[in-house]
Symmetry: C2
Subunit: 197 residues, 2 copies
Amino acid sequence: MQLAKFNTYLIEKGGLTQDDLAKIEPFIKAKKIVKGDFLLKQGDICSHFFFVEQGLLRLYALNEDGKENILQFATENWIVSDRGSVYFKEPSSYYIDAFEDTLVVFIDEDFIDKVSQVNPNFRKKNERLLQNHIRHLYKRISQLLGVSARIRYLDFVKMHPDIMLRVPQWMIASYLGITPESLSRVRKSLAEENFKA
Amino acid sequence: MQLAKFNTYLIEKGGLTQDDLAKIEPFIKAKKIVKGDFLLKQGDICSHFFFVEQGLLRLYALNEDGKENILQFATENWIVSDRGSVYFKEPSSYYIDAFEDTLVVFIDEDFIDKVSQVNPNFRKKNERLLQNHIRHLYKRISQLLGVSARIRYLDFVKMHPDIMLRVPQWMIASYLGITPESLSRVRKSLAEENFKA
DNA sequence: CACATATCTTACCATAGGTCAATGCGTGTC
DNA sequence: GACACGCATTGACCTATGGTAAGATATGTG
């Protein structure tokens, strides 16, 4: 299986060398999953981090009325998981499924330990990635706390133009925390303003 | 300066021994700050993680109309910071200030490296703490996406009864993403229901 | 005590966004 | 072409929450 992106990721973000890569190659497990397949369901204990080599995954929760709240999209080079569930072996509250046929690299805690043995810098690099992830989550919370749906949408378009093109609008609405109808209205009002201007 | 809680934290959460503690003691910097003091302002580069030995800090953003959005409270045994700013040396978008007189332990990147040299397990433990933190942030996002103000409030009361008693209601409203007036109404309606029941 | 300041509540109205139902539109299938 | 399906839009109406302004309450300070 060709895992060009995962290898590049390990080199650029994880600080590994080509030599290191050769050593850890045996530990790498990847699998092709098809659109609609689940990698995690509510109640399961999440066993892996999932790196997207090619395709598109989504992480979401269901609220009491059965409505999906999309917490994250993961396209190429993204890692998605219920990290809490992996680390603390607790049942997850979330679902992860594939919205496109997706080539996924399965990363377990063990893998991180092994890579760290091969290259001790890896743990520190990994820590930086986590800190960066936390930063993004803060930004998202900050937006949800104090920013209108309209602006959140504009921000999403700017930040994730690629995802815009790959998922239906109702998923973006779910990610933004509004209904598809509301998003449609926001888009209409934006379009009208652009026309006037 | 007595740092009983920080020491306990390093032992219990960081996996250090008493011996380790003795070795790193010289690197520990703590400082008493008074109510109203800032540890971080928008535009600054955040230089430390802040461990609260005693007192109460808050992390917040200002939106365009100058309204505060409180991202996090930190009471005893909590660490708060703009981690992105620390790690990537970028200007912060946030403020951190003290709402009570607070004894703060200043932790820099260097400190983490030093402790890791003394006890190599520390880095891995630290990673777990980060993953746990991420889990909480996901929970918060999930709530903001799909849960009413009323339920978010009830959840806050259950999760943080201590903070309830130490900060004014308008700060809790800010943390929940609503106005103080709305929170007042939520509380009223809850009170009425309890009276009926 | 008189006063100032901060917080919380209440009442009234405004608005963003939700709900429901109908319609339209594009694509795939037979 | 005819139909079904998933998605997006629209309109009418509803609800939660926001905005404003006025009191009420509490606490501190001279």
